[in-house]
């Protein structure tokens, strides 16, 4: 094994340190948690632990393509530049757009943003962070004057009261959750309140679970502020010295939400429970409120986040050890994206487009020829503009909007008719890549070098330990090469990520003088070697704080013009859409434990798909029975915008009338399970973040004739069906199928003809059941089972048996092992009695052929085995005689 490479995990916003050991040919790696990394101190979650399964060149995009044609990089980038220039020439710079990703490293992000905002001259670069973080950004900026996360992970451990709202962090941020669980185990007096309409895994740790009406969290926190004010549980000194607009906000809150009974009713809680929460909050100085997508993904999300910040401002609990609001991010580099200005309404380095001073500063620093004066198109508007033909060229980097955007079918339609769609990605097939005119192979995790910033502002290095596969290139390199073709070689003269990082740090320091929160002045002259060995560090990193800064605002200095934090007076609102007779159930959406985003990486790991292997909708048992559903039934879920087919599952954590679907499945892995095709493109008016969490839907069971499982070495064409869901394993692909048309073994064999040379088969004249075991050169390459109900298989046994190829096809066709089967010699053919059974009868006292016969039936028909019975009798009785 080679030396250990220290890098960071590419999944959630926790940003865990990962130690990687590669073997000599880099085929296998070993992954472990980095004991020294301050995010995880050696811990890893299941996804992180399975990172080794996800590397390798299988299913990777390895070469540039124009259409279906593999081309050279030169040709691909010439074509990209030519098409982009043509659109700019004919329609202006706002007719081009980049849609980028929190998966990009900070350096990638920086050059993409710089190219768009300083050189192409448009602000049309938005990111999938719009879907997850933009509400927190907007709330931070409105309240603090800057997009600042005031606290750090340690605060979550130090808190005496930890309020977790809108986050199933046990599954979405498992390592932070484990840190909290460990802290609570050590200090059981620490109280945890979980606010979530679902009883999730996270709620298992809670002293109090507030199972609120979906979307009512704004009332809860507005009510909290009113209650704190009325009960004089506020920090008057902090309010007076460091904030503004308190009085007006407090008055509004009291007027709106001063009646705790009414608030409890609004939130679907009993008064006592709500009062307990309010009292705990009021009485606990060290209180941390962690918020995530449940707050952010709402049509009034900015007001909800601001309501949380209001409560912390009113109690002066901000930026103090164990006392702070804390927005936890979804993606590994959502924070890095915010730092470079990767959102359409940001400029760069936490500066704003609509601030002329900022624009001038950045222009000078970049020596930019063309700067936009208006904010660009936010994600939903961006794809609308593509649909309307206003944006004619879009470059999508490292993300899959056809799956992740709301009203996802419209997004697909928009891209399908866009003049030029360029997609750079590290995998070969995504729903979005299928619509690309130009596909560019990007480096993946383990191949890329750069930095990411986690939820607590901690910058960590992601380091490469694998060679670049095929012709893949790092994103910064691809963007830089394009910038050269556009004529900006001087401004994009980077030779390595460190060049970019130094410039990024330089911009953060440029004209800062303490006026902006984001500052890396301590890193502007980092050498390449220093960059390579950079240890995880929290920004700001200034000359006088070279080791970083854990907390902001403890001193009460904010980044507004008057340095005071602003209370935001926002009237709480119910969910933007309500259920009615046609769509009677409220659908929530979110992550599951073992998958990440649109599964492009996690689905490469068989074990990550073992936990939950198919898309589902969770329902309360009352709704299950009202709909006549059994656990596992396939149902059609409809909203005003689209429909999905997934499996219904009973989940006691749901409240009646609500449902939950995972966000991960897409057209590569399932026939029709993109939850975002159901979701309305309703956004928060300030942040532009879509409301993914509350969608009225209807559910109907679909009538099916058969259910099937196909296991094959390579992907096979599927027979006509209503539903399929595929998942790869190390050597096999497993497809779950269901259909409503009659199936026939003959048709299937024709469909798969050429891949298989011999079939062992079970054929049913009524077509109810089919089993096929297909061989090629005497090796099993295909296994298929079809029957009226879902086939039950022992998957690990079957895959192993198929790999070993040492069982007869009949046993394979069963799909489950015949454990305990007697494999001793067959003695009595007539009654199928085997030696082991006879020996046990002898051991039980049978001492003659006759008594064996009456006990086991052996030898009682034709008698041909009686000599054998005698032999067994003699063999077993002789030793006794000798005794």
């Amino acid at each position: 094994m080679s030396a250990i490479v220290r890098t960071t995990c590419p999944y959630c916003g926790v940003g865990c340190g990962v130690n990687v050991q590669t073997d000599s040919d880099a085929n296998r790696i070993q992954v472990s948690g980095d004991q020294q990394h301050p995010a995880n101190f050696g811990r890893l979650c299941v996804k992180g632990s399975a990172l080794a399964d996800t590397i390798g060149t299988k299913q990777r995009l390895l070469y540039p393509h124009i259409g279906e044609q593999r081309v050279s990089w030169d040709l691909a980038l010439d074509e990209t530049a030519m098409r982009m220039q043509k659109v700019i020439r004919e329609h202006g710079p706002d007719a081009v757009a980049f849609y980028v990703s929190g998966q990009l490293l900070t350096e990638d992000y920086y050059v993409a943003n710089k190219l768009m905002k300083g050189f192409i001259g448009s602000a049309n670069i938005d990111t999938n962070s719009r879907l997850c973080m933009s509400t927190a950004v907007a709330a931070h900026k409105r309240v603090f004057g800057s997009d600042t996360v005031p606290g750090c992970y340690e605060d979550l451990e130090l808190a005496d009261l930890l309020v977790i709202t809108g986050s199933n962090m046990a599954w979405t941020h498992p390592v932070v959750y484990q840190r909290i669980a460990a802290a609570k185990a050590e200090r059981p007096s620490m109280k945890i309140v979980v606010i979530d309409p679902r009883r999730t895994a996270t709620a298992e740790l809670a002293d109090l679970h507030l199972q609120i009406t979906p979307g009512s969290d704004g009332y809860l926190f507005d009510g909290l502020l009113a209650w704190l004010v009325m009960n004089l549980a506020i920090d008057t000194d902090f309010i007076l010295r460091h904030t503004e607009d308190f009085v007006a906000t407090a008055r509004s809150s009291r007027r709106r939400s001063g009646d705790i009974l009414a608030v409890a009713e609004r939130c679907g809680l009993d008064e006592q429970t709500l009062r307990t929460f309010y009292r705990w909050f009021a009485d606990t100085e060290r209180t941390v409120t962690v918020f995530s997508q449940g707050i952010n993904q709402s049509a009034s999300g900015v007001d909800k986040a601001a309501a949380i910040l209001n409560c912390h401002l009113a109690t002066g609990r901000i930026g103090k050890p164990g006392a702070t609001p804390f927005s936890i991010t979804g993606q590994p580099n959502a924070m890095g994206g915010r730092e470079v200005g990767g959102l359409a309404n940001q400029l760069a380095a936490h500066m704003d487009i609509d601030n002329a001073e900022h624009r001038d500063l950045v222009r000078r620093f970049w020596q930019a020829p063309a700067m936009p004066v208006r904010t660009g198109l936010k994600a939903v508007n961006l794809f609308d503009a593509i649909a309307d033909g206003k944006v004619k060229f879009v470059w999508i980097m490292a993300t899959n909007p056809v799956v992740s955007m709301p009203d996802a079918d419209k997004v697909r339609a928009a891209l399908a008719q866009c003049e030029t769609v360029v997609v750079s990605d590290c995998v070969a097939d995504t729903d979005t890549l299928r619509l690309a005119h130009i596909r560019l192979p990007a480096a993946g995790w383990g191949e890329k070098d750069g930095t990411v910033t986690n939820s607590e502002r901690r910058i960590s290095r992601q380091r490469a330990f694998l060679p670049l596969p095929g012709e893949a290139l790092p994103d910064w390199k691809i963007i830089t090469d394009l910038a050269h073709r556009l004529g900006y070689a001087d401004a994009f003269a980077y030779t390595c990520p460190a060049d970019i990082f130094r410039e990024h740090a330089g911009l953060s320091a440029f004209g800062n003088n303490g006026s902006r929160d984001f500052e890396l002045s301590g890193l502007t002259s980092l050498s390449n070697t220093d960059y390579d060995s950079l240890v995880p560090v929290q920004w700001p990193i200034r000359e006088h704080s070279p080791d970083g800064t854990s907390r902001f605002f403890g001193n009460g200095h904010f980044f507004t013009s008057n340095r005071r934090a602003r209370f935001i007076d926002g009237a709480p609102q119910a969910a933007a859409q309500q259920c009615d007779a046609n769509f009677p159930l409220m659908l929530n959406s979110g992550r599951i434990r073992d998958q990440w985003h649109t599964m492009t990486r996690t689905a490469r790991s068989a074990r990550l798909l073992q936990h939950i292997s198919e898309p589902f909708i969770e329902l309360h048992e009352l709704d299950m029975s009202a709909l006549g559903l059994n656990h596992g039934d396939l149902v059609q879920v409809r909203s005003q915008h689209g429909s999905c087919i997934v499996r219904a599952q009973e989940q006691s954590g749901q409240t009646p009338g609500t449902a939950f679907m995972p966000i991960h499945w897409n057209d590569v892995f399932a026939s029709r399970a993109r939850v975002d095709s159901l979701i309305a493109p309703i956004c928060d008016p300030i942040s532009g973040q879509p409301a993914f969490k509350q969608t009225p839907v209807s559910i109907d069971r679909i009538a099916l004739r058969w259910h099937a499982i196909l296991i094959s070495r390579e992907s096979l064409p599927l027979p006509e069906n209503r539903y399929w869901c595929r998942r790869p394993t190390d050597n096999w692909e497993i497809v779950s199928l269901a259909g409503d048309q009659t199936a026939s073994a003959a048709l299937l064999k024709r469909l798969w003809h050429g891949r298989v040379s011999d079939w062992a088969e079970l054929e049913d004249s009524h077509g109810h059941t089919i089993r096929l075991v297909g061989y090629r050169h005497a090796v099993p390459v295909c296994w298929f089972a079809l029957q009226p109900g879902p086939p039950e298989i022992d998957e690990s046994w079957l895959l192993e048996a198929l790999d070993r190829n040492d069982l007869p096809a009949l046993q394979l066709a069963r799909g489950i092992p015949s454990t305990g089967a007697d494999c001793s010699a067959l003695i009595c053919s007539c009654h199928q009695v085997r030696e082991a059974k006879i020996l046990s009868a002898i051991a039980d006292g049978c001492d003659s052929v006759e008594s064996i016969g009456s006990c086991t039936r052996a030898g009682t028909n034709c008698g041909s085995c009686i000599p054998d019975l005698r032999r067994l009798l003699t063999a077993t009785t002789v030793p006794e005689a000798l005794c």
Binding site: D758, W759, E761, D764, R771, P808, A809, R814, S818, P867
Partner: protein, 400 residues
């Protein structure tokens, strides 16, 4: 309750089984005399095929040696067949003229090989396959090698063919049905069986009628209806059996195809019973061993004065005992057009299994290559219960 002198005509498997059943009850109740046609003591006729094929020794065939009879006080008269039965005098006269009186008579004369009524069937080296004697002659003859023709592609014929093949002869099987074992197998299994036999070097001719044996003194060939001449130095007729009822018929017992017997094994004449291949119960004849064993038990119980419900007719499975080719069949294969059928085929192992279901109940099965589930399927056919998951049944039972 009967007692006194009990005479059994026949010393085949039905008779010896009856003796076993009597011995375990009260052997001394009767003075038993057994009149056997064949010279040997009791042997297992079913094991003639494996013996012919060299898979069993002669000793292993013998189920009841002479001293067994002596031990149990049974007198065995072998080599002096019964010639007449006198129902009035209640005695049997043997060919040598001995008179044996009885209080109870049991006729267990079994059957003879069916005769093929074509010219030349009396030529030398045209044999049947029925007795130890027949098998011994076939075994002796095979030492000379050469070509053998077996007529009959049923159970008996195929066993003879396999035995001769194992003994080194070039064997052709001629069968008038459209496929081998057409009473017990469906066409696909029959074809697979033919293919397996061909792989073993046995020629198979199905859908062929035999016209005549040709030869001068000894058989030299078999002429088929289509004109083909199959040269051979040995011909074995294995087309079935004919119940041996000449003694009974001559004695005036009521007979049709065999001796008419009630479920308690009583013939039309008082104190005379019959069992085995020579009896007929409710129009049914018997060739398989299981019902005959049942009859032996019924008869023994009645003779010993025990309660008995009488013989119960049962559907029987067929298992072809040709080593290496496991073939099993159960149920009536002639009336299955309306059935749901499930088939398993494994070309790699040459296995084939078929189930027929009517109204969700298993009614018939044919297994080829792997008959290990035959007994279980047979039980299910008997039980006639609903099969919840026929496919799982076809794929074999799996431990829960």
């Amino acid at each position: 309750m009967a007692s006194g002198r009990l005479v059994i005509i026949g010393n085949g498997m039905a008779a010896t089984r009856l003796l076993d059943e009597l011995v375990v009850r009260d052997a001394r109740r009767f003075a038993i005399t057994v009149i056997g046609e064949e010279a040997a003591a009791g042997y297992n006729r079913i094991m003639l095929s494996p013996w012919l094929a060299g898979e069993k020794s002669r000793n292993e065939l013998i189920t009841h040696a002479r001293d067994w009879y002596e031990q149990h006080g049974i007198s065995l008269l072998s080599g002096d067949p019964a010639a007449t039965i006198d129902t009035d005098q209640q005695c049997v006269i043997t060919e040598s003229g001995s008179r044996i009186d009885w209080d109870q008579l049991v006729i267990a004369t079994g059957s003879r090989a069916a005769i093929l009524p074509i010219p030349g069937n009396r030529l030398g080296n045209v044999l049947c396959f029925r007795t130890l004697d027949d098998a011994q002659r076939m075994q002796q003859f095979s030492r000379r090698g050469g070509n053998a023709v077996v007529i009959g592609g049923g159970l008996l014929g195929l066993e003879a063919a396999y035995g001769l093949n194992r003994l080194g002869m070039h064997v052709s099987v001629v069968h008038n049905g459209d496929w081998l074992m057409n009473r017990q197998l469906d066409e696909e299994a029959g074809s697979r069986l033919a293919e397996s036999l061909r792989q073993r070097g046995i020629s198979v001719h199905v859908g062929c009628n035999s016209e005549a044996f040709v030869g001068n003194g000894n058989v030299e060939g078999l002429q088929l209806a289509d004109g083909t001449l199959l040269p051979c130095s040995l011909a074995v007729i294995g087309i079935g059996i004919t119940p041996e009822v000449s003694l009974a018929r001559a004695a005036g017992l009521q007979c049709e195809r065999a001796i008419i017997t009630d479920p308690l094994m009583r013939t039309s004449v008082e104190n005379i019973s019959a069992l085995g291949e020579c009896c007929q119960i409710s129009g049914e004849l018997f060739g398989m061993i299981a019902p005959i064993y049942q009859q032996a038990r019924v008869l023994a119980r009645r003779l010993c004065g025990e309660e008995t419900e009488g013989y119960q007719s049962e559907v029987l499975p067929t298992r072809l005992k040709v080593s290496g080719i496991d073939v099993f069949s159960a149920g009536n294969l002639r009336e299955l057009d309306d059935c749901r059928t499930l088939v398993w085929r494994d070309p790699k192992l040459g296995h084939y299994k078929r189930l027929w279901l009517r109204d969700g109940r298993l009614v018939a099965t044919v297994l080829f290559g792997d008959a290990s589930d035959g007994g279980h399927y047979f039980d299910l056919i008997q039980q006639a219960g609903r099969i919840a998951d026929p496919a799982a049944l076809l794929l074999g039972e799996v431990a829960a």
